[in-house]
């Protein structure tokens, strides 16, 4: 969860930085915009770009949070495979471990987290499935003809991931 918390904290930092940039531009403070892209930017153009940047930041945060979540989950699975190394003869166990570890990278993430349904609950799994759909929509260029079934903001994505990770931490303890 440390990496996920760190990404979310950085997102909040950037969001408030954009907020302060908006306030500075609004107050037309002399000289503060010099040698930046804002120097010659008209007010309306700034407002439009500012609003777009806020939306893009939200989308990037969802992408980044989910990427970190996916990595953590695959790593947890890899650790579980350690048991394969105990297969005798040792060389065979090592081979099965190597092949299985590589294969995990190709498993669909929704299939992996669904295996934890007994610990995280159906609602949590369903929410994560919707986050995956939204994340895929962003990652594949936001196709306007094929919109995701529901939209999501970074905090809701963070809460869904946090709830899931806390649930599986309990069974690992």
């Amino acid at each position: 969860m440390q990496e996920i918390n760190s990404i979310y904290t950085s997102y909040l930092f950037l969001k408030d930085s954009l907020r302060i940039t908006g306030r500075i531009f609004d107050r037309q403070l002399q000289g503060i915009q010099s040698r930046t892209i804002f120097e010659t930017m008209p007010y309306d153009g700034f407002k439009e770009s500012h609003s777009l940047a806020l939306s893009e930041l939200d989308n990037l945060a969802v992408l980044s949070l989910f990427a970190a979540f996916e990595r953590s989950l695959r790593d947890i699975f890899s650790e579980k495979l350690e048991v394969l190394r105990t297969i005798w003869p040792k060389e065979l166990g090592a081979g099965i471990y190597r092949l299985s570890s590589a294969e995990i990278e190709r498993w669909r993430i929704a299939e992996i987290f669904s295996l934890f349904g007994f610990a995280a609950g159906k609602e949590s799994i369903d929410k994560l499935k919707q986050v995956v759909k939204y994340r895929n929509w962003i990652a594949h260029g936001k196709n306007q003809n094929k919109k995701p079934p529901a939209s999501i903001d970074p905090k809701t994505a963070y809460d869904a991931i946090h709830f899931f990770m806390s649930s599986i931490e309990k069974i690992q303890a």
Partner: protein, 158 residues
Amino acid sequence: MKEKKVSGSDKIIKYNERLSSLYENVIAWLKEAGVPCVPLFEDLLLSEDQVGAYTVKKLLIKQNSDTLAKFVPVGVLIIGAEGRVDLVGRSGKEILVYYSECGSETTTRMPVGNMVEERAERIYGQKREGWHWIDDRIIGKQPEFDKDIFLALLERIN
């Protein structure tokens, strides 16, 4: 208990009613707080995959020629909620979502020794029906959107 299926058009009707009621509250709160402003409504066309295209009202809170804030509906299909509207100001935006009264419960089964313990939990906790603000801080919850929160957010987004 089995959930009752709600059609796309029913969802839109409910969403519009909930937005109208939110706007009525906001206008009353502004009046009570003595904020000089004029509310204006504009049509906004939204389109979502499972419900199609529909029109909703956007509320603009005008102060002379400036816009102090606007409520911009985002959609009815929202993960974990039944509609979203963004409160947008000059420097940022805040997210409001509509929660139904109880929300769905999730059952988890944790192995405890040789036994399995069943627990019923809600990801977002028990919520009262209505509009809630998504407080985006790490430990932030989703408090009910009321007058105090609205006036604080007006400062935050400007």
